[in-house]
């Protein structure tokens, strides 16, 4: 099973430029989380800080009890073996073939025989749809293929935490959908904790259990998917609808005059660039491909969300309740008022009639 990642008060600057400050969140064990944010808000920096590639000035990142911000280099290398990271454009070794790239972690960290390595590598490459491409060099394949090869390499050591940096960039919507399905299937199979950093709404609305958003150096929020998807915060709704009206501008700062002018344009009939409010609302989450085991994270998440339900906004509460099946309602509500039930840590255990 995956392990929990706890981030406490993380602050990172480059020189005088602050990237984000005081970010606190918990990636729940075995669940899929997405970190959204406009370009240039430090999503990649956040991801790199989790694995200790960048060292934030303040705060802690606890992985299995080890703080990757302040621990020694040696401990860091140990902790990193629990991670599988898919970089933005694959970060494959240019001098090695795809096969050798994917086999690299196995050859470095295990004493497997060559035919065992071969079996694992071919299986993972088949999984990401790269069967038969083993002999090619990274320079000879497309960006999407490099990305998938990077994912295969991140998976060979069966990581407990998988971090994906913009898995969708450079992929068409269909391939993005396949990749989303692949990540959900992976979660069902190995129950790893997954964090996806992206600005793709398609992924954000169908894949994760939890969504967070970074904007202008702050964590706008992090919580169950329903919270952000139903949020009325201007930043969040602008981002999800992809329109120009709102606090996010083309450059980092957007002044009041610009906002007023854009508003005037829209009122005069100019298109705001967005997809409209009908693209909002909660799409059903992806299920694992039929035939695979059920995602254990789903049940764990329901238990967890029910304990914090009373702290969530009303719209999110409604959305969560609406997503429950009859069986869930019987399990959690059992005829009693929702708030009372929600307070218990394991409501399912004792209250069933």
């Amino acid at each position: 099973m995956g392990i929990e990642v706890v981030v406490e008060g993380l602050t990172k600057s480059f020189g005088r430029q602050n990237v984000w400050r005081d970010v606190s969140l918990t990636l729940p064990a075995g669940e899929v989380s997405v970190m959204l944010g406009p370009s240039g808000t430090g999503k990649t920096v956040f991801l790199k800080s989790l694995v200790g590639l960048l060292r934030p000035e303040r705060g802690r990142v606890l992985v299995d009890g080890i703080d990757t911000v302040s621990c020694s280099e040696r401990r860091l290398y140990q902790v990193r073996r629990r991670f599988g990271v898919m970089f933005q454009d694959g970060a494959l070794f240019g001098s090695l073939s795809l096969f050798d790239n994917v086999a690299f972690p196995l050859r470095e960290h295990t004493r497997l025989r060559e035919h065992e390595i071969r079996d694992i590598v071919l299986e993972k490459m088949e999984m990401v749809g790269l069967g038969g491409e083993e002999a090619k060099l990274p320079g000879e394949i497309s960006g999407g293929m490099r990305k998938r090869a990077g994912l295969a390499r991140a998976l060979v050591l069966d990581p407990q935490i998988i971090l994906c940096d913009e898995p969708d960039s450079g992929l068409d919507p269909v391939r993005t959908a396949y990749l989303s399905q692949l990540l959900i299937d992976l979660n069902a199979e190995i129950d790893a904790t997954i964090l996806i950093v992206t600005h793709n709404i398609q992924i954000a609305s169908t894949v994760p259990d939890n969504i967070g958003m970074l904007f202008r150096g702050d964590l706008v929020g992090f919580g169950p998917r329903e919270v952000l998807l139903t949020s009325e915060q201007p930043v969040v709704s602008q981002f999800l609808e992809g329109r120009r009206i709102g606090p996010i501008g083309m450059s980092e700062e957007k002044d009041v005059a610009t906002m007023a002018l854009e508003q005037a344009h829209v009122e005069a009939g100019h298109h705001d660039g967005g997809t409209g409010t009908q693209s909002r609302g909660i799409m059903p989450q992806l299920d694992p491909t039929p035939g695979l085991p059920v995602r254990e994270a789903v049940q764990r998440r329901k238990d967890r969300v029910m304990t914090i339900l009373h702290t969530l906004p009303a719209r999110a509460q409604q959305a969560i309740m609406a997503s429950f099946s009859e069986a869930d309602r019987a399990r959690y509500l059992a005829g009693a008022p929702a708030a009372a039930e929600a307070a218990g840590p394991h409501p399912g255990a004792g209250t069933r009639p």
Binding site: G40, R80, V85, A91, F93, E108, M250
Partner: protein, 285 residues
């Protein structure tokens, strides 16, 4: 009004690409010269880490052999081609000087000391830094900006142990071995010039070899080559591991690595020579 101009509706270029392009890990520079001190500190830290990791298992033997072969293949011919005219020009200079004292028979002695003690380790290290070091720096720099090194670190493999140690050791070993070749070729170049151009006598040239030169000259020559090779390797690796972002950053890093290595080699050469002359008295003194 600038706000109006900025807000003119139109198809803006999609803000795609890396999500943090403008963010660059630069330390805050408050005092002039602090940046340089930091670089020097990083350089020594890297040198010590390389030494420490040399003895850490598993040693990357395959990478070492490949790099050794690569550095040797790009440096052997240039060093030989440089050392022939270099030996010749020393013989020419020393020969014409000594001729004025009617001591032409000591030409061999002078050129052997000059070639073995000074010219040979410098020629070797210049070609190692220029041909081998620039390649090392470009290779590491390209890997760095394409996030290959990050990926390697995330996979729990230290790029210093995996990539830098074999390269630095290869540069060092090639420098030591090549130094022997360069000394021989340089002395031969001097011999041919003296005998065939200046019409000196072969016997006098050869018999005067031992007049000034002594065995410690060869030792210091090899020690210099060892240190220079190591320095050239570490400088190249240091610049390669810390390039500014983008392809231009790598280009600049290669440029810097060669310039810094050249400067460093001559300074260190002065220090080593001064120490050597104090410790080992000249022959007959």
């Amino acid at each position: 009004m600038t706000a109006e101009q900025r807000a003119v509706p139109g198809p803006p270029p999609a803000p795609s690409g890396p999500s943090a392009p403008a963010l660059e890990p630069l330390a805050p520079l408050t005092v002039p010269g602090l940046g340089a001190l930091r670089q020097i500190g990083q350089f020594f830290a890297l040198a010590i880490t390389v030494l420490r990791m040399t003895f850490k298992r598993p040693f990357q033997f395959r990478e070492f052999v490949e790099q050794f072969w690569f550095i040797a293949s790009v440096t052997i011919l240039p060093t030989a081609l440089i050392s022939i005219p270099f030996g010749a020009v020393i013989a020419l200079q020393v020969g014409s000087l000594l001729q004025q004292f009617s001591a032409q028979s000591f030409t061999g002695a002078g050129s052997v000391v000059a070639v073995v003690q000074q010219a040979s380790p410098l020629i070797v290290s210049l070609t190692i830094a220029g041909a081998g070091g620039s390649a090392i720096c470009a290779d590491l720099g390209a890997r760095k900006i394409r996030e290959e090194l990050d990926a390697m670190q995330v996979m729990g493999v230290s790029p210093i142990q995996r990539l830098v140690v074999p390269r630095v050791l290869a540069a060092t070993c090639v420098a030591v071995l090549l130094n022997g070749l360069t000394s021989v070729v340089g002395v031969l170049g001097g011999y041919f010039l003296n005998v065939y151009v200046q019409h000196g006598t072969p016997g006098a040239y050869l018999s005067s070899f031992a007049a000034l030169a002594q065995l410690p000259d060869l030792y210091i020559s090899e020690i210099k080559a060892l240190i220079f090779g190591f320095l050239a390797g570490v400088i190249a690796a240091h610049r390669g591991l810390n390039p500014r972002p983008g392809p231009k950053g790598v280009g600049d890093a290669v440029n810097e690595s060669v310039v810094i290595a050249f400067l460093m080699l001559f300074i260190v050469n002065v220090v080593l020579t001064a120490i050597y002359l104090q410790v080992v008295p000249a022959k007959g003194a």
